[in-house]
Chain length 436, copies 2
């Protein structure tokens, strides 16, 4: 009979939870608003850079909320923050969730934050419902998901996933003001007695599962009126730094044939990036020049140096690597044609894509169904800490709709209803996995 | 007989001067080196921005040298500095010379400076030779030839030439940090009791003639081994500010067809500027994008705003204005094609070219010949304060060779021999004009 009923035998306890789950979306919204005030640029924009004073204040705010939720809090050497609710079988691998609270310059208040403050509210909701976890539940607030300060995205999760090379590289990494990573970390109270960051590494299967709640950062869920996105794969990001150099000179005095304008080389490469991405033939290939700087940067000086930072992604790693190769060839050809020097072409990272784990996908799907929330399977085109957590743990992601798909800008917005739905699905999914 | 001899009757007194003229090139070089230390960036680069602390110190240095040369010093409301050697017929219009001492970011120590410190040495050399001027001689150190701080080039000479509109506009002009022009001027000790800057204006024919000594900022004199360039015309400069706006968004999440990337619009316009300039068909047309800024400027953000500053020049005003029109059309077309907004297209200035005065050209030529210095007639592709002084005075310019034509960069260099030649020609030209 049970084979045909559609209700597996462990259904009753979850139903009990899903009926009694109540999420306090107003408090969540208030916390999101409060956290957004720790910013280096005026509201509604948010700018919260790794290890800045505002970042330190925001971290304190998160640790305080974790404490109020009854979680035991620890931090590792780079400032990944862990809040743990001990299960009644604490020797079992825990179920983890989390996201990030850093924000790129002039961005919004929901990216990452929904997955940290929402996770705390999910735990609070589970506690209020009377649920008792078998496996422990953990919330992680990851250090520096955004690459703003040191050019390294998902710094915290990369290290957690055992980034040996990264741990080595960080000993000599510095920011744009030439402050070393370790000095910056110490300024914020981390990496106190050690240069060795391998203490951050977690073993494979340290967690039973990892789930990240996040705004979609794309328009699909909103356009289609779907409440929950279940991520099946995360696109593979790569980032590249390029420098051109020329002779510069006076904008009036140097005739056009005698120029090797580093700024025009950069402009051509930016357009070549777009061209190569469009040539891939897939809608899933994207490429962006988010940074383009000219030196000396005066209206009457021919640029003698230019610097570009390029981001390109795909759900197909091979196809993305073809784009990178073409960008490289264009950079060489442009420099040759313009008699400029391609003084740097550096691939900063070139990560493989990640697939979500079937068991986690199924748990999220079951939770959505129980909560009567519409859902769809989708691809994450933005990367997330989940991309790296997938290296050491079964992984899944929950997306919620956001206004027009806007992200990384002040207009970024998710409704309290959509956030409440996401928090409920997260809570129920964690509860399910906790009992497995 | 005299018609065939080639020696006009007023030749003997000049020959006397030219034989006894001795220029102290070592002291001049020492002063150039000293002045270059008033800089906001490390040597060998020079950065001296209008009304900055370093600019104020540099001004004090110039006024001190003028005083030591026995000149009477005055300053006007915007800080143009005048040093006057009274002639024995002081009611006659004076002969003036001068240039500027401000320096764009990361530039060199000769641009402008040779024409100010060189003028002081020219006066000193004339004094040592026993020369007595009939018409008074004046040296002007012009305020803000470079547009760095307020986006206005030749600010001081434009005002001297009676820039009514500029005087009005300056009441509401502010720099990039939103400091008003008047506050900045007051910080440096100018514009004390007045918002009205019309006190700066000089009447037409206030001067009998104006001559500027300057490095060529191009490679021709050095390549051809010629000592003195006699400028017959100054190319017509125009500058334009352009802003594009788009929706921005996350570099991973927004698919290519849904983008309206303000950065790519800027890149396309930069290349269009080059294209339209090359299409003019004349080697004398030049165009440069020296400033290109992206907002928010993060590797994983699609640019939502871009800002360009464009400089274009020609010795033919009409041809240059055609280029400007084409750039405007391209900006509109690019915005339309990319569904971005062209939120600003502002022509900041669009000055007519200036011709040197025959009488001044002939005086410089005669001086060069008397001093046995090779010379050639040439066009100034860079603009200079002379462009504006030409509106109120007969004008001419003396160019000297500079290393590889480099300017607006730390490698800018002129030999002491070439500077000494230029100073001698300047001194003798002023002496000739003084006696007319
Ligand atoms: Mn982000
Ligand atoms: Mn994020
Ligand atoms: Mn200059
Ligand atoms: Mn100059």
């Amino acid at each position: 009979m049970q084979d045909f009923s559609g209700y597996p035998i462990d259904e009753p306890p979850h139903s009990f939870i899903s009926n009694s789950l109540s999420v306090d979306a107003q408090t969540l919204q208030k916390q999101i608003d409060e956290l957004s005030t720790f910013s280096d640029t005026p509201a509604p924009s948010v700018t919260r850079i790794l290890y800045s004073d505002k970042d330190v204040l925001a971290r304190r705010y998160i640790k305080n909320l974790m404490g109020l939720a009854g979680l035991s809090v620890r931090e590792d050497a780079v400032g990944n923050i862990f809040g743990r609710w001990e299960g009644y079988e604490p020797e079992l691998a825990a179920v983890a969730t989390g996201s990030h609270i850093d924000a790129i310059p002039y961005s919004g208040k929901y990216d990452g934050v929904v997955g940290v403050l929402g996770a705390i509210e999910a735990i609070n909701a589970l506690k209020r419902s009377g649920f008792k976890p078998k496996r422990s539940l953990e919330i992680i607030s990851f250090t520096s998901e955004e690459p703003t300060r040191f050019g390294i995205s998902c710094l915290g999760s990369r290290l957690l996933a055992g980034g040996e090379e990264l741990a080595k590289a960080l000993k000599t990494t510095a920011d744009g003001q030439n402050m070393s990573f370790l000095d910056a970390a110490r300024y914020a109270g981390y990496a106190k007695d050690q240069d060795d960051l391998s203490s951050v590494f977690l073993k494979k299967d340290h967690y039973f599962g990892f789930i990240e709640l996040h705004i979609e950062q794309g328009p699909i869920l909103e356009e289609e009126g779907v409440s929950i996105g279940i991520v099946t794969a995360i696109a593979a990001p790569a980032s590249i730094k390029v420098d051109f150099e020329g002779n510069g000179g006076h904008a009036g005095a140097v005739l056009m044939p005698n120029r090797n304008d580093a700024g025009l080389a950069a402009a051509e490469l930016a357009l070549a990036v777009e061209k190569h991405v469009l040539e891939s033939g897939s809608i899933d290939t994207v490429g962006t020049v988010g940074i383009l700087e000219l030196h000396p940067g005066a209206i009457n000086s021919i640029p003698s140096k230019s610097h570009l930072e390029i981001d390109t992604r795909d759900i197909d790693e091979k196809r993305r690597n073809v784009v990178i190769e073409k960008i490289h060839e264009s950079a060489i050809a442009i420099a040759r044609k313009r008699k400029a020097i391609l003084s740097e072409f550096k691939i900063i990272n070139q990560d493989p894509p990640a697939l979500s784990e079937k068991s986690i996908i199924e748990a999220i799907e079951a939770a959505s169904k129980e909560l009567n929330l519409t859902h769809k399977f989708m691809i994450s085109r933005a990367y997330h800490d989940s991309l790296f957590m997938a290296r050491i743990s079964p992984m899944g992601m929950i997306f919620i709709p956001c206004y027009k798909g806007y992200s990384h800008r002040p207009e970024e917005y998710a409704s309290t209803q959509d956030m409440a739905n996401g928090v409920k699905v997260l809570a129920l999914t964690m509860a399910k996995l906790s009992l497995q």
